[in-house]
Amino acid sequence: MPFLEAVRLALQTIRVQKLKSFFTLTGVMIGVMFLIAVVSIVEGMADYVENDFAVSIIGTNTFTVRRYPNFQDVSDEEWRRLQRRPRLYAPAAAVVREALPSATYRTAMVNESFLPAAVPGLRPRSVQAVATEASYFDIKDYEIAQGRAFNAQEVALGAKVLVVGSEVASYYYAGLDPIGRELRVTGIPYTIIGVIEAQGSVFGFSLDRLAVAPITSPLSRALRPRGDVEEVVVQAPTREAILDGQEIVRGALRAFRGLSPGEEDDFSIASSDAALSFLDELKGKLVLFGTALPAIGLIVGALVIMNIMLVAVAERTREIGIRKALGARRRDIIAQFLVEASTLSILGAMIGAGLGIGLAQLIAAVTPLPASVAPWSLVAALVVGAGVGITAGIYPASRAARLDPITALRQE
């Protein structure tokens, strides 16, 4: 029997028994649905991390110079060794800045942490306080929606001015123009001079709860009581220039610190790549756990299909007898039942893929998680569907094919 004939026959059988067929394929459908949804969410997160997250949190083509490495697990012993590193102060930051060609590389000293901010009459809230230089706004590519950013002169003078995120502006001065108004951070009054355009959120974490002041302002002391610098952010002109910039900085800082060639760096240079590889590892784990559960669903789906096909073989013994009497060979009967099982299963997988995409979009719409449907996951769904169908169909099909036509025809 030609393959297309078998598919047509299978679709006809499925159409005649709509409800039963539907229940048969629910197992595969649900398995594939969750598989697609999970993969879409994980892929979406990965896309987000690579494109938006890296830019908004870490910055484009940037690396940082720090006392300690970030995003890393260290042993206690390692930690004690890291603590012997000297702190990073303004002179070291100046060495970094002066070593790099100023026409192409941008640098900014940054201290940041959460601090309470208040205005009289409102409950204080914690905001992400950042003390930095004027170049920070360019490195972060912040657009100023209202007012202005602070300038180099204000940084030189240590002016108590703030450029705030949109959420800070709307919380403390809802419906009012925040420019020129006061905001107290750790009890010290600052004047708001600008509002940064809304940045949105990453994994539910708002990027607009931000207050940026000059690094010379009292905010810096509140963040780093010892007066050191948490990190120097360097932005390279291109992705390729990141490595060159890192080498220049390393050489200059080693010279400044007077390290001999055999000694280790007593500072860390972290690129956004390091953060990204950490997130890649996380993604691998998510995919593994996220697909284990749907896989159990698929096994259950296969068992359901096998069971239904065994029932179908028993119910259709007479039909099998008729077909054999009229000249169907074993392989024809096997083909008929295998194609039927596979068609059911592929149908389930296709519906499941559709629902999975829908579910992913729904999750993306109601939660902060992003979603992105990977084309390969749809191909995988079809392959899984066919695989489950064939696996589940082999045993019932071979049972049908082995039936003796005389006994089968006698069946009522």
Binding site: M1, P2, E5, Q12, T13, V16, R318, E319, G321, I322, R323, K324, A325, L326, G327, A328, R329, R330, R331, D332, P405, I406, L409
Partner: protein
């Protein structure tokens, strides 16, 4: 029609392929079943020879072995001993799939219970043997339509079996049996589930087929039905009890030859 001596000569030539005129030749066919330790000897050595264009009835009471013989002649079963030549091929030595091929090409079955696929239309049912013969869809449809028109069911092609009367169902089965142009039409109690008027109608169809050159073998336990055939073979206890012409059979039983 061949003489008894000719038949004797063909069925005794063990191992030799019969010439083209003989559609069916069995030599010493035996079939035993093991029923839970008890051996049932359903056929104890049957020699039958059927020429092309013959119309033969096989009769016998239940337990006579006529169903077993019909299964072997229809290539649904193989004998434990003896030879069965169908249209020049030694089918008694064939395996499962080879037998399926022979059933598809050489045999048209008509069953007592019709055995139509209930969910398929008359046309789809008649197309079925052609599907397994690998005939392309368009030709299949043309040939199935032709076969249905021959049994006056051209108007009912798209009806399902439960929308047809018993006589119509049996005519669909006859169209299905003939669509592959088989060497023999093999009917197993073809009127067993029909009233006498419809039985007559089906017998007229068989009569017409026999007159137009189709070899017909019919298994029945009803003498009235067997009397339609040109030759009647009677089995008893797994052996051939008699082999008579229509005239001899009718005369012996004292019944009238049917006038159709």
């Amino acid at each position: 029609m061949s003489t008894a001596a000719e038949r004797e000569a063909v069925t005794s030539a063990v191992g030799a392929a019969p010439d083209r005129d003989w559609v069916i030749v069995t030599r010493g066919i035996k079939r035993e079943y093991d029923m839970g330790g008890e051996i049932i000897r359903a056929l104890r050595g049957v020699d039958i020879a059927v020429k092309r264009n013959e119309y033969v009835a096989i009769m016998g009471p239940s337990g006579s072995g006529k169903s077993t013989l019909m299964n072997i002649v229809g290539c649904l079963d193989t004998p434990n001993a003896g030879e069965y030549w169908l249209n020049g091929q030694l089918v008694s030595a064939m395996q499962d799939d080879a037998l399926a091929r022979v059933r598809n090409k050489e045999i048209g079955f008509v069953f007592q219970t019709f055995n139509l696929l209930p969910r398929a239309t008359a046309l789809a049912n008649v197309e079925l043997p052609l599907v397994y013969a690998g005939v392309p869809a368009a030709e299949r449809k043309r040939r199935a339509t032709e076969a249905l028109e021959k049994v006056q069911l051209g108007q009912r092609m798209h009806h399902k079996p439960n929308e047809l009367s018993g006589g119509q169902r049996q005519r669909v089965a006859i169209a299905r049996a003939l669509v592959n142009d088989p060497s023999i039409l093999l009917a197993d109690e073809p009127t067993g589930n029909l009233d006498s008027q419809t039985s007559e109608e089906i017998m007229r169809v068989f009569e017409h087929l026999a007159n137009t050159g189709q070899t017909v073998i019919m298994v029945t336990h009803e003498p009235d039905i067997a009397a339609h055939a040109r030759r009647v073979v009677v089995l008893r206890d797994g052996t051939m009890a008699s082999d008579e012409t229509q005239a001899q059979f009718v005369a012996r039983l004292g019944i009238h030859a049917p006038q159709l």
